[in-house]
């Protein structure tokens, strides 16, 4: 006796299956989650000092970016669950140009050798065509080399603006674009609250949706090691200023002109405890 219900359902669901890698991840995540829950009572999770200029925060569903970006760096899977910042609320900022934007720090891993952070920005950038007045051009900096400047384009419309501007620069045509973008930094402090020169890092980026970007930023010995004092440190403090970056780009027959301005909107401070998992070395070189 056939059962067309199951046949039809399986036919419709035939594309819904897990690859071997996804099954492996499911298995390792289960093990990692169980181990993390066992250790939680004995570990200082994260001490969060939230400094808000104005306004509150919104609660949004979080994605585990270490899991999402594991295709770029397989090591992220090992710490994808232990690094999740379950208690950290997303940060909401308001700008006249964008309205409400949301910065969410989803993951943080520190093991003495590596500092890796995952974060996303919703409603990232506003951009529009721009023809400056002579007075406005006089406030911009003329580019003296061959560099072609751009902005953080995060949507299809912004891609078109960016491409059109770059074509104009290459061809020596008149074209301009201006707007604002929400940007962040990750500043490292020692126990005495002295800001340290941040080691060079590299970042994996993804556009999740129109004007929504996600990132995993990696500080590690494969590129530029963390300062020596963190080798045996129990924690690392990271300050995360969130800026409204205003930009203006203009090109004409006389050259390229640029202008940037960073306005601090909010600052978040994270103290990230040392993880018991030390990530192995990676061959990746940015």
């Amino acid at each position: 006796m056939t059962d067309p219900f199951k046949e039809k359902a399986d036919s419709a669901l035939s594309s819904l299956h897990l690859s071997d890698w996804e099954k492996h991840r499911l298995f390792t995540n289960t093990m990692e989650e169980q181990n993390m829950k066992k250790k939680m009572p004995a570990v200082l999770i994260i001490a969060i000092a939230l400094i808000l200029a104005l306004g509150g925060v919104t609660v949004a569903e979080k994605i585990n970016l270490f899991t999402s970006f594991s295709n770029f760096d397989e090591r992220l899977i090992e710490v994808s669950y232990s690094s999740v910042l379950n208690d950290l609320e997303p940060i909401t900022v308001e700008t006249p140009e964008l309205g409400t934007s949301v910065v969410t720090i989803t993951n943080a891993h520190f093991d003495g050798e590596n500092l890796i952070l995952g974060y996303s920005v919703e409603n990232r950038t506003f951009a529009e065509n721009f023809t400056p007045t002579e007075e406005e051009i006089s406030t911009m900096r003329k580019v003296e080399n061959d560099a072609v400047y751009g902005f953080m384009n995060a949507s299809h419309a912004q891609d078109e603006l960016s491409d059109a501007y770059h074509r104009a620069v290459r061809l020596g045509l008149s074209r301009g674009v201006r707007g604002v973008s929400i940007s962040t930094e990750f500043l490292i402090f020692d126990e005495q609250k002295n800001e340290l020169s941040a080691p060079l890092c590299y970042e994996f980026n993804n556009r999740d949706a129109e004007n929504v970007t996600s990132h995993v930023r990696v500080h590690g010995p494969n590129y530029d090691p963390l300062p020596e004092k963190f080798r045996n440190a129990d924690s690392i403090t990271v300050e995360v200023p969130i800026y409204k970056t205003s930009f203006a780009l203009w090109n004409d027959s006389t050259g390229q002109y640029v202008k940037w301005n960073h306005e601090l909107l909010k600052t978040l401070t994270l103290t990230i405890p040392r993880s018991e998992t030390v990530l192995p070395a990676t061959d990746f070189h940015p």
């Binding site: 219900f5 669901l13 499911l26 289960t30 093990m31």
Partner: protein, 174 residues
């Protein structure tokens, strides 16, 4: 076709075997219950975590009861999510646009069934899935959902009415 699992000594090997054997069918079950791929993936992870924690209490009698046990966990995880304050606040009326792009290649008739299943009220959807999709008996379905067999049978009849002409064959023989 399911292969008969080889008994393993270690818990980790057993979990790995469960993932290999049942992850796909559990993912599909969670998707049918929740109608959202991301929620289904979260529910699948939660299902295996609960299975891992409860593994020592599970006394395996045969392959069917092992699978039935996992399906029961998955249905309970999905039911808990459907009862959550978030789900009650969000309008979750399922539409064809909610289908993942990968499913658009399936025949229209099959996609229609999928949409009809996802639109069923939760208590009817559960019995329909356990009885028609997972081939459980009415008694097994009732046990999985912790409801009397008579209640399971009533919900099954009502669920079939709601699905109208999508069900043939087994229904006619019951």
């Amino acid at each position: 076709m399911e292969s008969v699992p080889v008994p393993d000594a270690s818990r980790e090997n057993k979990l790995k075997r469960w993932v290999d054997a049942y992850a796909d069918t559990l993912l599909r079950t969670c998707y049918l219950c929740l109608g959202d791929m991301h929620l289904a993936q979260d529910a699948l992870q939660e299902t295996f975590l609960k299975a891992w924690r409860g593994m020592d209490k599970f006394e395996q009698k045969n392959v069917q009861s092992e699978k039935a046990w996992l399906i029961r966990i998955a249905m309970n995880v999905c039911r808990d999510h459907l009862r959550s304050p978030w789900h009650r606040r969000v309008d979750r009326h399922f539409t064809p646009e909610d289908l993942p792009p990968s499913m658009l290649a399936a025949p229209q008739e099959d996609r229609d069934l999928l949409i009809d299943i996802c639109r069923l009220p939760g208590k009817y959807k559960q019995v329909i899935l356990l009885y028609h999709y997972h081939k459980m008996t009415v008694q097994e379905t009732a046990a999985a959902l912790h409801i009397p067999a008579a209640t399971a049978y009533k919900r099954l009849r009502k669920g079939r009415v709601l699905l109208k002409n999508q069900l043939t064959g087994r229904e006619q023989n019951d």
